[in-house]
């Protein structure tokens, strides 16, 4: 045990003064590592408590009130939603939206990361910068740009298609094309995040492993399957989890491009919660819709993080 009194002698020379003793105690208290750590984390703790924990608890409370917010109704809002066809359609759409978007983002990110990793190091930084552009543009702004490209009447894409003799595609007016369009924009926006994470993971794979495999006669696919993939598994899992959470909670893309239409067939949890809570004035029901995301994400987070921990122990 460290003798603090020896290391930080208190009150030497003016031991009799009460004020000096108090000052020294404060100095000692401040020098403790744990104290400094807490103090430095305090702003973050305040932000997390104020902007995440409090709103989350408040929305749980709100979801248990009646429409006029005058009466506690327990889980009535949740059981009501479970009986609605439209809600189940929203669940299905949210799942299609999130799973397909995350799958394609991961796939495109993986392929692009490999391509960029194999570029000569001289020009690689420029490519990395350019490929990150979709991710750094504010989402609402870029979605507006996409909306103009898909505009129901004056779509720039349709203008090009007409130019080569094709027929107009109902990008936003046909529910299935509309689903495709919102997923496409989400993939465009999110793929660079996967790219940068996978690129970082690829760069951390020791070159000697590939050299040894090459000497043993492994081809490119075998090197990818038996070296790259296992070395990247944790990063892939964490990235997929993070992206799944963000994509499930997506609001901007659907709200700007389709506002949930046509026929409610592009609504996701967040836009449907907004429709019920803000536009229709039923805040408790809106809160209940948004809370449905919680168990889905919690279960997927549990499985993914369990896998990450398991692999971590294996490596350790």
């Amino acid at each position: 045990m460290v003798d603090l009194a020896r290391h930080y002698p208190i009150g030497r020379g003016e031991a009799s003064g009460q004020g000096a003793r108090a000052g020294a105690t404060l100095q000692l208290w401040l020098r403790r590592r744990s104290t400094i750590a807490v103090l430095m984390c305090l702003p973050l703790i305040v932000i997390v408590a104020g902007l995440i924990v409090y709103p989350a608890l408040y929305s749980i409370y709100l979801s248990m009130l009646n429409k006029a917010q005058t009466r506690f109704v327990g889980l009535d809002n949740f059981s009501y939603l479970l009986r609605r066809d439209t809600f189940w359609m929203v669940v299905e759409q949210s799942a299609i939206f999130a799973l397909s978007a995350v799958f394609f983002k991961a796939l495109i990110g993986l392929v692009t990361a490999h391509l960029v990793n194999n570029l000569p190091s001289k020009g690689q930084r420029k490519w990395r910068g350019m490929l990150l552009v979709p991710w750094v543009i504010p989402l609402a702004l870029s979605t507006l740009g996409w909306w103009w490209l898909f505009d129901p009447t004056h779509s720039a894409f349709n203008w090009l298609i007409q130019g080569v003799g094709g027929n107009d595609i109902p990008w936003l007016s046909n529910p299935y094309w509309a689903r495709f369009s919102v997923i496409l924009v989400n993939v465009w926006y999110g793929a660079p995040f996967f790219l940068i994470m996978y690129l970082a993971a690829l760069k951390s794979v020791p070159e000697q492993l590939y050299e040894a495999a090459q000497i043993d006669g492994a081809n490119a696919w075998q090197r990818f399957r038996h070296i790259t993939l296992p070395m990247m598994r944790n990063i892939i899992a964490i990235t997929v989890l993070f992206s799944l959470i963000v994509t499930f909670a997506n609001f901007d893309i659907v709200q700007i491009m389709t506002a949930g239409g046509p026929r409610n067939m592009t609504h996701v949890f967040a836009t449907y919660a907004f429709l019920l809570g803000i536009r229709s004035g039923d805040l408790p029901l809106g809160a209940a819709v948004s809370l449905f995301m919680l168990p889905i994400l919690a279960v997927s987070a549990m499985f993914i993080l369990r896998g990450v921990r398991k692999r971590g122990r294996e490596i350790g």
Binding site: P262, L275, R279
Partner: protein, 449 residues
């Protein structure tokens, strides 16, 4: 100098009378009015319209020694709704807020009753629009004051040249820019004629465009059409009435009409139909004069041919979608008397006239006695183009969801039950009975307490 002889009894009497006088006195424009008023007002899309409102508020503020500040809040992305919801939850913010149609009912628990203001205005200006009353009055009290700014109806805005050329219909003869209408001609403008002309225009390559998405232009015009066929979703006593011959007739009509519209109408937002008309591709839409006003700037040749006029008549009458805006005074406002006085000032005829002029005729007050403003007679091209914008004949204002109780109707409106029904039948090719059954299920859910 003689000293006044004040007894204890007379002092108490005088003080008591003075106190009672102060407490019971209505808001009077004198130095007691000093204080602050913060307004959160809908940001008008017509350039310069906000300036007129600011000027009027400042003039009133200077005269009454009240410091008035205004924040103009856009309805793009529902920022006005979000702001109002946040303030209602926090019980803090502006003193007065603009509220779109249903929001008075949504926030009425935290809104100050405005009976004194509205009743004084009704006494002066005559009856108020029944739609405004339906939306702003609850339990016998007015919780919102219909504004001039932003309030609108959505009648037909048609191309004179195309209707004449392809359908042989002279809309200026049916709806002239003066009070001399021929009732027979007006009667002939019904949904059957509309369907026939829609087919002719479609074949000529210049179809009409009825938005069928999930935004207010689509909901307002579609709701008015359903009502013209006598279709009701839920009545005043919470009875679900959607499963009716009237609803079937309306859906059958839409089945015939929608193929003569461009296929993209199912994805149009509130600007989609405007752009359609302004581009010159379309022969008619249902909209306030905003499309015409933008065409005047961007495509004057189209604007010269635009004519705003009544909706067609259906078996149950002639209905036009109305979307009133309201001012609400928060119950947590610190300066309620001043707020009420300002609201009354802004709603008087002279101020309304200036606001209508600033909006080039887009804003429509809720008092029918205000429909004689010069703006609607004089703006052009062509002369008289928006004369028939205020409902002048047998056209009745209507809001989608009526006559259900407002908190249920708000959900019928905002969840686009009408347009989704039409889209299911016409775009999704679902059987009418199945669609009615779907609507019934949704309505049962909306009736929950």
């Amino acid at each position: 100098m003689p000293r006044a002889n004040i007894s204890r009894r007379s002092l108490l009497k005088t003080t008591g009378l003075a106190t009672a006088g102060v407490l019971s006195a209505p808001y009077v424009r004198h130095s007691y009015a000093a204080g602050k008023l913060a307004l959160g007002v809908w940001d008008h899309w017509v350039p310069g319209a906000n300036n007129t409102l600011t000027r009027l508020c400042n003039e009133w503020g200077e005269k009454n020694k009240v410091e008035v500040t205004i924040d103009y809040i856009t309805s793009q992305g529902d920022k006005d709704l979000l702001t109002a919801s946040a303030e209602a939850q926090a019980r803090a913010g502006h003193d007065i807020m603009s509220h779109r149609a249903w929001q008075i009912q949504v926030h009425r628990a935290v809104l100050e009753p405005l009976d004194d203001v509205v009743n004084a205005l009704i006494a002066k200006a005559g009856p108020i629009s029944p739609v405004s009353e339906y939306l702003a009055r609850a339990d016998g009290k007015w919780f919102g004051l219909p504004t001039t700014v932003g309030s609108q109806v959505k009648p037909c805005c048609s191309r004179l040249d195309l209707y004449k050329q392809h359908c042989g219909i002279d809309l200026t003869a049916i709806f002239p820019p003066n009070p001399n209408r021929d009732p027979k001609l007006v009667d002939s403008w019904n949904w059957d004629l509309y369907l026939k002309s829609a087919e002719q225009l479609f074949k000529a390559g210049v179809p009409v465009g009825l938005p069928m998405g999930q935004t207010s232009d689509a909901i307002d015009s579609t709701g008015a059409m359903f009502r013209a066929f006598g279709s009701v979703m839920v009545d005043e006593k919470d009875n679900i009435k959607v499963d009716s011959n009237e609803t079937r007739a309306a859906l059958e009509y839409f089945k015939k009409l929608m193929p003569f519209n461009p296929p993209e109408v199912y994805a149009w937002d509130d600007a989609g139909n405007n752009r359609w008309l302004i581009s010159g591709k379309g022969a008619g839409i249902m909209n306030p004069p905003s499309a015409w006003a933008v065409a005047k700037r961007d495509n004057p040749k189209v604007a010269e041919q635009c004519w705003t006029h009544d909706m067609p008549r259906g078996p149950a009458g002639r209905f036009v979608g109305q979307l009133p805006f309201f001012y609400g005074l928060w119950s947590f406002s610190q300066n309620k008397p001043a707020g009420k006085a300002l609201l009354q000032f802004l709603s008087e005829k002279d101020q309304s006239r200036q606001l209508v002029e600033a909006s080039v005729g887009y804003d429509l007050p809720s008092f029918k006695s205000y429909y004689d403003f010069e703006t609607w007679k004089t703006v052009e091209p062509p002369p008289g183009t928006v004369y028939n914008y205020p409902p002048r004949g047998d056209e009745q204002p209507s809001i989608t969801g009526y006559p259900a109780r407002p908190d249920v109707a708000a959900q019928i409106y905002n969840q686009s039950i009408h347009t989704i029904m039409v889209a299911k039948v016409c775009q999704g090719s679902e059987p009418i009975d199945k669609v009615i059954a779907w609507a019934k299920g949704e309505l049962e859910g909306l009736l929950r307490a």
